[in-house]
């Protein structure tokens, strides 16, 4: 496409540090009173941090052994957990999510400002800041704000790179993409599309082979490096370089019409999917290459989300949907200020800029679009479970009982517990367990494979274990979404000396 190069005004606004600091304090203050309702993910990640600080094998395994539990959000919490220990559960997650949420708002403001958007940019920023989904994520210690921040960074830096060819933008794009990969593996599909766009953009320019090679080297290296590092860590810690990817072989456990479910979740956010699409259409008509590239990039998460939905995995598509919220706002800013139609819709700018804010306010009137209602946490049942197991055996055998609690949820369940009877397990091998604890009564406790939990190694290693058990497992009992099995230990055949 012979695209007229769009000029992005070379305004050089600075990131508003006071805004970020103020918002961080605001989010932290608001979230501190709600620490009790911190997200499960946050609790699990903090528990992993504690294990890491204790230099434990299961901590290191938990850090890298699943593509669905990317390592960076855990590592970001590590310094705060190191300082605060186990005294303030949820604090590190709240601080990280607040900082990332504030940084995201600062970045969006900076992006819109650099596109020479006047006061309308405050409306767009307010549209994000007032969004209930965004606020919830800032306050509940979720890693989603981190994902959103890096996604916005990727999108913004990419737009600067294609328009102005600033090396700094390429570097920040590459680093943000590398970090995004190890923050949320779900976004890998989107990143692949963005990389493809980078390659296409580079190829359509008449630059030398050496320059193309250099751009692609610097632009892709951090992403490749992040991926290779993850593989290396899996090889070192799990003994299998692709261990974290094994869960992809697992089939989905979601039921019902996933597309309908997706629409239910999407709710008013569907508008944010339309904005990039409009950008794509307008740019294609105006033969504006940069606008088209940006529009496709902003629209891509929806396609990736649909792909996951088609596979029956709703939680990654939900994450991608959140990205779309941010990219939708950026696309609107791009459409109103930078794209080829910007001058034609100059008068309607104010009205269009208010859309995100209206949608955010509208969302308050609608039922909360969460994928699944979080069941009320039931506590204290672990003691009952232990008692239950003990009563099945002679009192003297109590010290010879081990229960392997499987999967990432075990970190949340066993957080703060130092019980020799309960063991974390991320990579359980039944025969090895028997060899490790000869003469013990061995049990495994497995969570119901719903959502992300279905991707735990126990489920991809032993498909249908929860429903149908295994040859060496004997069903025992159900415990609040968990199922207890006993490992059957066959006696070793006695050697026949007569032969």
């Amino acid at each position: 496409m012979s695209a007229p190069e769009q000029f992005i005004p070379d305004a050089k606004p600075r990131i508003n540090r006071w805004l970020i600091l103020g918002l961080t304090i605001l989010f932290c203050t608001a979230g501190i009173s709600q620490l009790a309702s911190i997200s499960d993910e946050a609790i699990t990640r903090e528990a992993i941090c504690l294990r890491l600080l204790g230099n434990n094998t299961e901590g290191r395994q938990a850090l890298i052994s699943s593509a669905w539990w990317a390592p960076l959000p855990t590592l970001l919490r590590l310094p705060i957990v190191c300082a605060s220990g186990d005294r303030w559960p949820g604090l590190s997650s709240l601080v990280v999510s607040s900082i990332m949420g504030a940084l995201l708002i600062g970045l969006i403001e900076l992006a819109l400002h650099s596109w020479n958007m006047k006061f309308q940019r405050h409306l767009l920023v307010a549209g994000l800041g007032a969004n209930p989904l965004f606020i919830e994520q800032c306050l509940n210690g979720s890693s989603n704000t981190t994902i959103l921040f890096f996604s916005a960074m990727v999108a913004y830096c990419f737009s600067i790179w294609i328009a102005r060819r600033k090396l700094r933008a390429l570097v920040l794009f590459a680093i943000a993409a590398g970090l995004l990969l190890i923050t949320s593996f779900e976004t890998a599909s989107w990143l692949i599309l963005v990389i493809l766009l980078l390659v296409i953009d580079q190829c359509r320019r008449k630059s030398s082979d050496n320059e193309t090679e250099a751009v692609l080297t610097l632009g892709l290296l951090p992403i490749v490096y992040s991926g290779l590092l993850w593989i290396l860590m899996n090889w070192l810690i799990m003994g299998d370089p692709f261990y974290f990817l094994r869960s992809f072989a697992t089939t989905s456990s979601a039921s019902g019409n996933v597309m309908l479910e997706q629409c239910r979740v999407t709710g008013p956010y569907v508008v944010f999917c339309i904005i990039p699409l409009l950008l794509v259409i307008f740019s294609a008509i105006a033969r504006d290459g940069n606008g088209l590239t940006f529009g496709i990039m902003a629209f891509a998460p929806i396609l990736c989300g649909l792909l996951f939905s088609h596979k029956g995995m709703l939680w990654p598509s939900s994450g991608l949907l959140h990205i779309n919220l941010v990219l939708g706002i950026l696309s609107l800013g791009y459409l109103l200020c930078v794209s080829s139609v910007a001058t034609k819709i100059k008068r309607a700018r104010h009205i269009l800029a208010i859309i995100p804010l209206l949608l955010s306010l509208l969302t308050y009137l609608m039922p909360s679009p969460t994928l699944a209602d979080r069941p009320a946490a039931v506590t204290g049942w672990l003691d009952d479970l232990k008692m239950h197991v003990k009563t099945q055996h002679d009192e003297r055998k109590a010290n010879f009982i081990k229960i392997y609690v499987c999967g990432y949820d075990s970190f949340r369940l066993l957080k703060g517990l130092e019980d020799p009877m309960l063991l974390h397990s991320l990579d359980l091998d039944f025969s090895k367990a028997v060899t490790d604890y000869p003469g013990h009564q061995l049990y495994i406790l497995v969570s119901e494979p719903i959502g992300r939990k279905a991707m735990d190694s126990i489920h991809w290693k032993h498909n249908m274990l929860f429903e149908q058990g295994e040859d060496v497992l004997l069903y025992d009992s159900d415990w609040h979404g968990w199922r207890l099995f006993e490992i059957i230990q066959t006696e070793k055949p006695k050697p026949n000396y007569s032969q």
């Binding site: 600080l53 590590l78 190191c82 050496n210 080297t217 610097l218 290296l221």
Partner: protein
């Protein structure tokens, strides 16, 4: 008034590297070494000693990496260079230009003389206002003969440096400074090819700057980057340093360790500083620190001098050993009175000084130890190594290993890109091999610091003959 070639050593011995260690420094270094040795040899304290060492060095690595990232960020984001525009340069009238002294110390560089004279003739500066001195050593008959055989322009004269100890470049420069007639003064090496408008840019740069700016450092780069893998790495390193680190330092108004050539000075102020320390083997770095200690400062000038990158491993090791030994000398000289240093530089600049001078030395010295440790861990999966790394230290160590090393290698590639030497980007990423060579040189420098502190290992130039590979 002529100060003499050894002025700083004679009049301010505490600022000269004539005596490498002061008594208390000897005692302190010996004490630390003995305490470490005792800690390692005495079984009960072995683990604690190792842990302390590992913890401190991990914190240092992390700080150093963040420092590097900060400098890169500032260098690429802000206008930290003094960049006279073509219009400003064109507007300068020859009559208004001051006399500019150009010092070119030479030793056993007879083959460079014709190139040098040609390069200086290309300078866009009125010939009658250039005061060029070729500083020739008395015992270097070949170079003296080559100069004598050449019809030197009127503005160029040969100054013979008497054959005496120390036989170093800074001593020759001090003699040149004493004889200089210009308002401004610049040092070039014999093989240098400065950009023709560099002197005019410097004049404009000084006129635009604050009076406290007495030195302008030009960027350095190489005209033979593609000669072999060594020159490719060297170019990546120089690009990362002069383009992605020094502008950041200038932006922070931090101490700038000067490069060995193309430093432009206000002659009067340079004399006030008593010139270069003839006993310091990186006299440029030392002078850069003294500029700030006197309350003056240095800025970066947006112009490049093209040099010849050392292409021979043998001479490269010798050159690097000298540089790192000079860094060690500079550190020892300026920490002789730490309180005075803090008073003169200010807290912020003391931190910069330690990061830039001590940081580089420590980094190269301890790198081999950590590479071996990482290799052992990868190959043997030795669980006993875990005891050296308590949880938080392990996390920081892993961050430095995986993110820190990446940052430094990536920076080398970026430097090449920034210089538009696109084909060298991939070589910049192979920098870790280059770091091994640096670490070897650092250890060699450390041994030489004790055995022969003033030994000047001369770099051999003129190994690059082709004229095709020009910038």
């Amino acid at each position: 008034m002529k100060a003499g070639p050894l002025a700083i050593a004679d009049q301010q011995p505490e600022l000269s590297a004539r005596s490498t260690f002061w008594p208390w420094q000897r005692i302190l270094i010996a004490s630390i070494f003995l305490a470490f040795l005792a800690g390692v040899l005495w079984a009960p304290s072995r683990v604690t000693t190792a842990r302390v060492f590992v913890t401190l060095s991990t914190i240092f690595y992390l700080a150093f990496t963040l420092y590097k990232v900060l400098l890169m960020s500032l260098s690429t984001n802000h206008k930290s260079l003094i960049s006279p525009t073509p219009e400003e340069i064109a507007a300068v009238k020859d009559l208004d230009l001051p006399v500019y002294s150009v010092l070119v110390p030479m030793y056993h560089e007879a083959e460079s003389v014709p190139h040098l004279v040609a390069a200086l003739a290309r300078m866009d500066y009125p010939a009658d206002k250039m005061d060029i001195q070729l500083l020739l050593e008395e015992d270097d008959n070949a170079t003296r003969k080559a100069v004598a055989n050449l019809a030197l322009p009127k503005n160029c004269r040969a100054t013979v440096v008497p054959d005496s100890q120390p036989k170093t470049k800074p001593k020759a420069c001090n003699i040149g400074m004493d004889n200089a007639q210009g308002k401004y003064l610049v040092i070039y090496d014999a093989e240098d090819r400065p950009e023709p408008d560099q002197l005019k840019k410097a004049v404009i740069g000084f006129s635009k700057s604050d009076p406290s700016v007495i030195c302008l450092q030009s960027k350095l780069n190489f005209y033979n980057p593609r000669q072999n893998i060594l020159t490719r790495w060297f170019t990546a390193e120089y690009s990362a340093w002069f383009d992605l680190s020094l502008p950041g330092l200038a932006r922070l108004n931090a101490v700038i360790p000067l490069g060995g050539t193309s430093n432009h000075f206000i002659t009067e102020k340079l004399r006030e500083l008593m010139g270069w320390d003839p006993f310091n083997v990186t006299e440029d770095c030392d002078l850069g620190v003294r500029v700030y200690r006197k309350g003056y400062c240095t800025r970066m000038l947006a112009t490049t001098t093209w040099e010849e990158a050392c292409s021979s491993p043998k001479y490269w090791f010798r050159q690097r050993t000298r540089w790192l030994k000079g860094y060690m000398q500079t550190f020892l000289v300026h920490t002789r009175n730490p309180f005075k240093l803090a008073q003169e530089l200010g807290t912020r600049n003391v931190i910069h000084f330690h990061m830039l001078i001590a940081g580089v030395i420590v980094c190269f010295l301890i790198n081999p130890f950590y590479w071996m440790l990482a290799l052992l861990w990868f190959l043997l999966r030795n669980n006993e190594l875990k005891i050296l790394f308590p949880g938080p230290v392990f996390a920081m160590g892993a961050l430095c290993l995986f993110a820190g090393n990446f940052v430094f290698a990536y920076a080398s590639g970026l430097g090449c890109f920034w210089r538009k030497k696109y084909d060298l980007v991939k070589y910049g990423l192979l920098a870790p091999v280059y770091w091994i060579m640096m670490s070897y040189s650092a250890w060699r420098a450390l041994f030489q610091l004790f055995s022969d502190p003033h030994k000047w290992e001369k770099t051999k130039h003129g190994l690059f003959k082709s004229e095709d590979d020009q910038p």
